[in-house]
Amino acid sequence: MILINIDSLSTTELQYIAQQEGFENWQSLDREELIEELEEAYGEQDDEMLASSLKGKQIRKRFCNSLTDFRGNQQNVNGLPGVEELPEIYAETAIHLLLRDPEWAFAYWSISPATKIQVFGEDDQLGGELFLRISVTDKAKTETKSFDIAIGPHDNQWNINLPTLGKTYSVTLCYKDRKGMEMALAESKELQTYAPYWGDHFDDMAMNPQLFNIHFSSVVTKEGEIVDNAVLQEIAHTLSKGVL
């Protein structure tokens, strides 16, 4: 193991590390010796060996590992070597689906350079097309329908409309070559939406003003402004025909 900039640590800090590493002579070593010994210890021992050999000796409870008192820090951490800009995307082929609200989801994806070459060719000579396939499964999981959204080679995120409440959705990042052959590159986890009970039973509420009061009096201000929520407002709109 390499210790980067170990010589920038204070002597107290080096002694602390040596003590933690189980050096019996940590108090008698001077600064140079401490650095040397630590580099040697970390250099010689294989990571896994070190971990497994020490595992039995240390009984550590979670949340009991306190920090030591370090020397001053006047510099901004972010100016240090080793801190780099974030990549725009990551070199992997994956797609993720996040539920924004019951009607919209947000998908983001990345395609690894190797996969890109595989599907598009070195100079894009294969000329295939990318698309998202949205799978919609009903509550009983008996039927799955799907629809496709065409995307460009430089797209990496998309807002997806979810047409129906109470369904399970997933999205697959797909590729279609010139001959029309389709290939799935990555699939997201499923996300589930739920149909509200009162969305299907608004008649009960429409016929019963008391029930209406119990459920709606808390979501409408004294001035009659309903809580900002599209699904709820739709139920209210439907009900208003029967109640108000």
Partner: protein
């Protein structure tokens, strides 16, 4: 006569901001203003009522990031410096108002006295740690203290990462245990963000209840019987307390809530912006960045820039009227509800604690009046905590709350829109990589352990709901973006180094010095097999 109960839950939370590398740092004022204008005055009010032996119970969620800052010796020192500076400004203001603007003298003196009292309370009473004040009120049965997610992450957007959800919950609870010496019963869901299944993680850590947004009952897939007026039990037994949006809006509506009254103090008119630069320079930020100083002399007046001077006695009369109106509304509504539901209603009200005192100057006086009126007049409205309600009313309907939040639109659109959606690609990747590190390098000691612990801190700090909210809100966006990117870039330092079998020791000690949050962090919390 029906009995109505009301559970006030105040969410005291601020993101972790600590920049000792600067003599003064603008965003640290978020903490100092909150302590000075909300937390200390709230404690004073609660203690006054306790001394008078008035019966009341409130619930307060103190976020782990806030607790960490409140117990940080450096920030405590900087808060004292903040108070001293504002005391000096107050003394200067009293002199200036005496000669130039006598109509503002009463308020200048009032603010100066408050600052002096804050100095006494903070140093002499609490010895710089105001958590002791909350602890003492909890011990006497006046407060129920609860916790929230470790860095106040908006949890529904991390649903696919159960390890990260668990880390946020577990660390939030452990941090509470460290600070208060016992486990919390309740858990404040950041931004009221709930997704079906979240209760499983809460239950596994012994949580009995959490709060949810108002619409989560009406949009439930089940037939909820009492709407938002009774808690429900999730199928796993954990109780969910829905907010009463209507009662909350009496206070929180930015168009018609009590704080909008024209006689209340105007928040946005502050001498930090109004007085000449030469006069105010020493009390704002360098280089000549005007900020709020807390010295505000005007009343809201109306939708005009021609404000009238603030009159505290008029405002106090309004406070009493608004407290009475609030209780009247609850009683009136409760009578109707009790007969329809055949059960007594519970109103759950959730607010940001900083609304009271900081944003709504008279808010703490209003809370005091609500407590006094409900206690003295033996009105039918009783203050309860969710935990005390559960003890008395064990039988609750079992149902499932709907996915919801208290943000605009009622779901996740505030924390996932065009301004902030880009962040999740990086945060999710950091979580995946942190899990990978925790599995590959489990149970390390010494340097590697510290390196990995720091990585876990950086991941958790990047998950805070504050950053996407600020980006969405378009306020302080530069700072939020920098913080988010810095935490992620810092995480990548650990990931990159560990993959090369290296530890960047210089980076480590400096990073630890800067982000000193969660001193008891154990990165193994990110190990899915743990």
């Amino acid at each position: 006569m029906s009995k109505k109960s009301v559970a006030f839950i105040l969410n005291a939370h601020l993101p972790y901001v600590r920049h000792l590398e600067y003599p003064r740092f603008l965003e640290e004022d978020w903490l100092f203003e909150s302590i000075s204008e909300s937390y200390l005055p709230l404690l004073r009010m609660f203690n006054k009522l306790k001394k008078e032996k008035l019966s009341y119970t409130f619930t307060i969620s103190l976020s782990p990031t806030l607790c960490c800052m409140l117990t940080d010796a450096s920030l405590q020192g900087r808060f004292n410096a903040y108070l001293e500076l504002h005391k000096e400004l107050g003394e200067k203001e009293v002199l200036r108002c005496q000669s130039e603007q006598p109509e503002f003298l009463e308020m200048a003196t009032f603010y100066l006295d408050s600052i002096k009292q804050n100095l006494i309370d903070f140093n002499d009473l609490y010895r710089c740690n105001i958590l002791d004040g909350f602890k003492s009120l909890e011990a006497s049965g006046h407060l129920e203290l609860i916790t929230t997610a470790a860095t106040h992450a908006y949890l529904p957007l991390y649903k696919d990462y159960p390890t990260a959800i668990n880390a946020q919950v577990e660390l939030g609870i452990q941090s509470f245990l460290t600070n208060f010496g016992h486990l919390p019963k309740g858990f404040w869901l950041p931004e009221c963000g709930y997704y079906p299944g979240l209760e499983e993680t809460l239950k596994s850590h012994g949580i009995s209840w959490f709060q949810v947004a108002s619409q989560s009952m009406l949009l439930s897939p089940d037939k909820v019987e009492c709407g938002d007026y009774r808690p429900i039990r999730c199928p796993n037994g954990v109780a969910a307390f829905p907010r009463d949006y209507q009662a909350t809006s009496l206070v929180w509506s930015n168009s018609s809530g009590y704080p909008c009254d024209r006689q209340y103090r105007e928040f946005y008119r502050d001498i930090g912006y109004d007085l000449p630069m030469d006069y105010i320079k020493e009390y704002i930020h360098e280089p000549e960045v005007r900020v709020f100083t807390g010295y505000k002399y005007w009343a809201i007046t109306g939708n005009t820039d021609q404000k009238i001077p603030y009159d505290r006695s008029l405002a106090q009369a309004k406070v009493a009227a608004h407290a009475a109106n609030f209780l009247y509304n609850l009683k009136k509504k409760g009578d109707i509800l009790s007969s329809s539901m055949l059960k007594d209603p519970l109103y759950t009200l959730g607010f940001d604690a900083e609304l009271f005192g900081h944003w709504w100057f008279e808010g703490i006086d209003w809370l005091e009046q609500v407590i006094r009126m409900s206690a003295n007049s033996k009105e039918e409205v009783t203050l309860v905590t969710p935990s005390s309600f559960l003890v008395k009313e064990g039988e609750l309907q079992t149902a499932r709350p709907a996915f919801s939040s208290w943000g605009q639109g009622g779901y996740s659109s505030v924390w996932l829109d065009g301004s902030n959606a880009w962040t999740y690609r990086h945060i999710h990747k950091a979580i995946e990589r942190m899990e990978e590190l925790a599995v590959r390098f489990n149970d390390q000691i010494s340097l590697k352990q510290r390196f990995l612990n720091q990585a876990a801190r950086e991941v958790l700090l990047s998950m805070a709901s504050d950053w996407p909210f600020i980006l969405y809100n378009k306020s302080s966006t530069e700072y939020a973006q920098k913080r988010l990117k810095d935490h992620l870039r810092n995480f990548n330092v650990v990931y990159g180094n560990m993959c090369k079998n290296a530890v960047n020791t210089e980076w480590l000690v400096k990073a630890e010095k800067r982000d000193i949050i969660f001193p008891d962090m154990d990165y193994n919390i990110f190990n899915p097999k743990h």
